[in-house]
Symmetry: C2
Subunit: 201 residues, 2 copies
């Protein structure tokens, strides 16, 4: 702001809100004013929730999930089939797959994908932890659910290579037409994959 | 989320973030994960800034601006011409006009516009405070800068009526073509106003 029109504490709040993904400088101002208007219903509780999260958040040392306990809720859930591990790039992918609620199994968060151009090598990802989990035994399937990008596929190949000697089935997500998707809007690669993997009706 | 995959503190944080304007349930999850990843650079400082704002924020009893002091920074700024008051609907409008930095004057925030359908009458707005400020003397111009909506214009008329007996010049923002705007995309009302208020080159 050209001249100061409000207190430095509020300017600081706007500045920090602008760094939250999904908010920019303009929506940060709007968000700040909304928070201030809803001081007791929103600003107070949100400030408290952030403080709680700051104090309590932990990264699960086993799977890499974000939680307030270590090992995390997913790793200690004995109603899950802990002999199947879905390998994902990011915690957000773990949460997305859980919303689908298709499988009740364990997870492993890599924390990214191999990307030599960005300087991300195997040691920057949580791959060693995965090999170790499989090496400890009791794992019968690894489902590699990384994004269908070049880096994701490279990472999938690398992990498959690393697990080669171990007694474990390795699978990956199917490629195909998204449910509800229109063929006309899909790329050739997806259509080719969907045709090749066609199923009998 | 169908099953619990993270701690209740983190779910609470996501729930509250989803109420921030500009964020929805999906972007709230993304924001929460980003905050947690940037725990010390963002989550901690933001939690602190919100706590500070919660403790210190005040609504200026004179003009309605949001600040940490009362009267606010704008009202006590003696480099401003305090004899001219720009009347706005919301604090965000005050801040927007200040970014334009076109005038160095005082403000008055109504806190909304008259809207009988939504049950907003004159007593729900900070109109009495404006009349009082003008009545105290020393004000030579009131610039009504409410939005160019039906409710905004109704509010402008109401304020003009209320100030009728007092020695003060009342003006409103000019209607016309936005700077950088393309005629083809403008509505007829704006084009008519721009033609009527045409100026000599």
């Amino acid at each position: 702001m050209a001249k100061r029109v409000t207190g430095p504490e509020i300017e600081k709040l706007i500045q920090l809100l602008a760094k939250v993904p999904g908010l920019g400088p303009r929506s940060a101002r709007r968000a700040a004013l909304h928070l201030i208007k809803k001081k007791d219903q929103l600003l107070g509780p949100l400030s408290h929730a952030m403080g709680e999260a700051y104090d309590k958040v932990k990264i699960c040392s086993r799977c890499g999930n974000v939680d307030t306990v270590d090992p995390c809720t997913v790793c200690t859930d004995d109603r899950r089939d802990q002999s199947v591990i879905i390998v994902v790039e990011d915690v957000s992918d773990l949460w997305a797959l859980e919303r689908a609620a298709a499988m009740n199994v364990a997870y492993h968060v890599l924390g990214g994908v191999l990307s030599p151009l960005d300087g991300v090598g195997p040691d920057d990802l949580n791959i060693r932890g995965l090999i170790q989990r499989v090496g400890e035994g009791g794992i019968r399937e690894i489902i590699i659910a990384v994004n269908a990008t070049v880096e994701g596929q490279t990472t999938a190949h690398y992990i498959t290579d690393q697990l080669a000697g171990l007694e474990v089935k390795i699978t990956r997500l199917a490629h195909g037409v998204p449910v509800g998707g229109e063929l006309d809007y899909l790329d050739e690669g997806t259509l080719t994959a969907a045709l090749r993997a066609r199923t009998a009706i």
